[in-house]
């Protein structure tokens, strides 16, 4: 936008004869761009510099010599398993909460504006979507561990039925996915709601006037319009799950290999010494995965934006 407006001004100024000098143009441009300066500095310090540091560290030995060894180790053995498990876990905890979140969001979307329940759900989603880490793990342990409150209730209600004796556990990949739902579903509600709000009632009316039923409306009108947004939201959930760390660590104690946990062990652990650069290599791989996800997200958003302006 900024680019085109600058170009639009320039020819007009040239034609009027009262040409401002090139210096004035530069100053005007500088003023225009100065607004984003704080953000640019923030991005440079908070994103670009650390990324560069990680990228450089990934290709260095501890002694500082160049090497491909870290990357090589990072894509073999337990680290490869970790990456695969991380991606699988993130895909599952993006799709399942994505579907639930869409249904909940649609339910509140159809409710009247100003409806109390609708407002409560939106506010609560904002809170729960940001709840995570060790507190979340402790919350699940307090409610659903062997001696948890809910486990106890189920026992009381169903005549001593102990879910833990029938395959339920919090302390594996299933437990982690289960805990992730807690913040992923509300996150989905928050991010998909604007897309639902963008569906215009006029479209539905128009479709119905032409004889379309509910199924046909969803199949040929709303579905295709929503689909890119829906996929975009799934990618966001994927990124959220992919980078989550403390909850999984607290629940599984490293028995489920996940890349962020492995990085933690390499950089902050008390066991492995002197392998920080391997941690950087794993970090770089995560950056690449997230970069791919972000590019996908941008492309889908662009497609969705055509209809949802």
């Amino acid at each position: 936008m900024a680019d085109s407006s600058i170009q639009a001004v320039a020819p007009e100024a040239a034609a009027s004869g009262a040409t401002p000098g090139p210096a004035t143009k530069i100053i005007r441009g500088a003023i225009r761009w100065s607004g984003v300066l704080p953000f640019a500095v923030y991005v440079a310090l908070g994103l670009a510099l650390p990324t560069i540091a990680i990228a450089i560290g990934a290709f260095k030995t501890n002694a500082g010599a160049a090497t491909l060894g870290n990357i090589d180790t990072a894509v073999h053995g337990t680290y490869l398993t970790g990456l695969r498990t991380s991606i699988e876990l993130s895909v599952v905890t993006a799709i399942v909460p994505g579907i639930f979140g869409l249904l909940i969001a649609y339910a509140i979307h159809t409710a009247k504006r100003g409806n109390v329940l609708r407002r409560v759900v939106i506010t609560a989603s904002g809170v729960f979507a940001n709840f995570g880490g060790v507190p979340l793990a402790l919350l699940f342990i307090a409610t659903l561990s062997t001696t948890g409150v809910v486990t106890g209730w189920i026992k009381d209600i169903f005549g001593g039925f102990n879910i833990w004796n029938h395959g339920f556990t919090l302390f594996n990949a299933f437990g982690v996915s289960f805990a992730y739902m807690y913040f992923q579903i509300p996150l989905m509600v928050l991010v998909i709601l604007p897309a639902l709000e963008g569906l215009r009632p006029a479209w539905r009316e128009a479709a119905e006037n032409m004889g379309a039923g509910t199924w046909q409306y969803w199949r040929y009108v709303a579905g295709p319009v929503l689909f890119p947004s829906f996929l975009g939201c799934l990618l966001l959930l994927f990124g959220s799950a992919f980078s989550a760390y403390a909850t999984a660590e607290a629940l599984t104690g490293g028995t489920v290999a996940l890349t962020p946990i492995q990085i933690g062990a390499l950089l902050n652990g008390n066991v492995l010494a002197g392998q920080e650069n391997l941690g950087y290599a794993l970090g770089l791989i995560m950056v690449v995965v997230i970069a791919i996800v972000m590019v996908g997200y941008t492309i889908l958003q662009r497609r969705a934006a055509r209809w949802l302006r």
Binding site: G82, A137, I141, A142, T146, E249, T255, I261, N268, V271
Partner: protein, 383 residues
């Protein structure tokens, strides 16, 4: 590395010039203090008399008036009391950076804060990190006055680092929930312990959990050079449903019943779980005794070199060693304290009796190999 060596060379040259300057004035420096002519960062042990004796060290340290320590939680191994007592005794202010930090963060701080007045003077790290620091030339060798009381396999021959306190891998349990008392690793396979047994954390992250796997290996036909049986043991415990692999094992998970049986260091079970769980019991498993000690080291680039050395002398004095013991940590010179009768009897009796026989530790090569085996296989076999 090259860069840091250059800095050290410049510093060394600088101090040489300073020393020469001092030497040229026979009065011994304008301040009139005898200690000022000593470069304490180069002192590797105290002498009985002369410029580098204890009295002069105290004088120089008090003049610095500051000591930077790092990652010392006040409720860990009695460090709160130790720091307060040291401060009071010598009028030296102690700054404790990131009290809840890890050994890895200590090493990073020594490297990245080099040359700043807030850089760590002394560290308390796990042995792999002490060795890494020695390899990277981060430590100033120093031998405390009681150096000979530290077992030879628990210190660097060059004096770069030296074991300070530690303990044994032990099994702690809450008798109100655990009806049959566990006595050994073998006994933990009892089906009565379903969903009961926890480690404090992941063995790929925490030294204590790693040690528990090592100890389990020793109990199951493994050795210092073969930790695999320990991983197999926990995989078995998990398969029969006894092992709860949470990474937040501690007083809370014992209290709320998530892990009524917790495998951890004896001193941490005694100091952190016993006070909050009534009747809590601690045993050193009869089929394995695995001990591990943390290490002290002085930073080569310590901003307060005299205070750093005085701190070490204090820690390895009878008083310092007993203070650790009062925090349930076994000081490295414990056997000397016991044989000389200077041990704090009450504190000593609070710990489970130590297994007989002398201490043995894995070598650095064995330790490093075992770490890689656990890192590669833990998730694969136990998960």
């Amino acid at each position: 590395m090259r860069k840091s060596k250059a800095i050290i060379a410049v510093l060394a040259a600088g101090t040489a010039v300073l020393a020469a300057g001092c030497g040229s004035s026979p009065s011994g420096g304008s301040s009139g203090s005898g200690a000022s002519s000593v470069d304490w960062s180069k002192v590797t042990s105290l002498t009985a008399t002369g410029k580098t004796d204890m009295a002069n060290l105290i004088k120089a340290a008090e003049k610095e008036g500051q000591l930077n320590v790092i990652t010392l939680p006040s409720n860990w191994a009695n460090y709160g009391t130790i720091m307060t007592d040291f401060s009071k005794l010598y009028h030296i202010h102690i700054s404790d950076a990131i009290p809840e930090g890890s050994s890895g963060q200590e090493i990073t701080a020594v490297q990245t804060e080099k040359g700043q007045s807030r850089a760590p003077d002394v560290v308390d790290v796990g042995t792999p990190f002490a060795v890494e620091g020695a390899t990277d030339g981060l430590w100033a060798p120093y031998e405390v006055q009681t150096w000979s009381n530290i077992p030879a396999n628990a210190k660097d021959a060059n004096g770069d680092w030296y074991a300070d306190y530690g303990g044994y891998v032990a099994i702690g349990y809450d008798p109100s929930k655990v009806k049959v008392a566990p006595t050994s690793f073998a006994s933990l396979t009892n089906p009565a312990y379903k969903n009961m047994i926890g480690l404090n954390n992941s063995p790929t992250t925490a030294g204590a959990a790693f040690a528990a796997v090592y100890a389990a290996a020793l109990a199951n036909g493994g050795s210092f050079s073969n930790i695999e049986p320990g991983i197999k043991y926990f995989a078995h415990l998990k398969a029969i449903g006894n092992f709860v692999p949470t990474a937040i094992g501690g007083p809370t998970t014992v209290q709320n019943g998530t892990t009524p049986i917790l495998i951890w260091w004896d001193y941490l079970l005694a100091s952190e779980v016993s006070p909050v769980v009534k009747g809590f019991k601690i045993v050193i498993p009869s089929d394995s005794s695995y001990a591990s000690y943390y290490d002290q080291a002085i930073s080569k680039t310590a901003p307060d070199p005299a205070a750093a050395r005085l701190w070490e002398e204090y820690l390895y004095s009878t008083q310092g060693q007993n203070l650790w013991l009062q925090g349930f940590a076994r000081p490295i010179e414990l056997s000397t304290l016991v044989s000389s009768g200077t041990v704090d009897k009450t504190a000593y009796d609070a710990l489970p009796p130590a297994p007989s026989g002398s201490l043995s530790f894995p070598t650095q090569q064995q330790q490093a190999a075992a770490e890689n085996v656990v890192t590669q296989n833990w998730a694969k076999e136990v998960g």
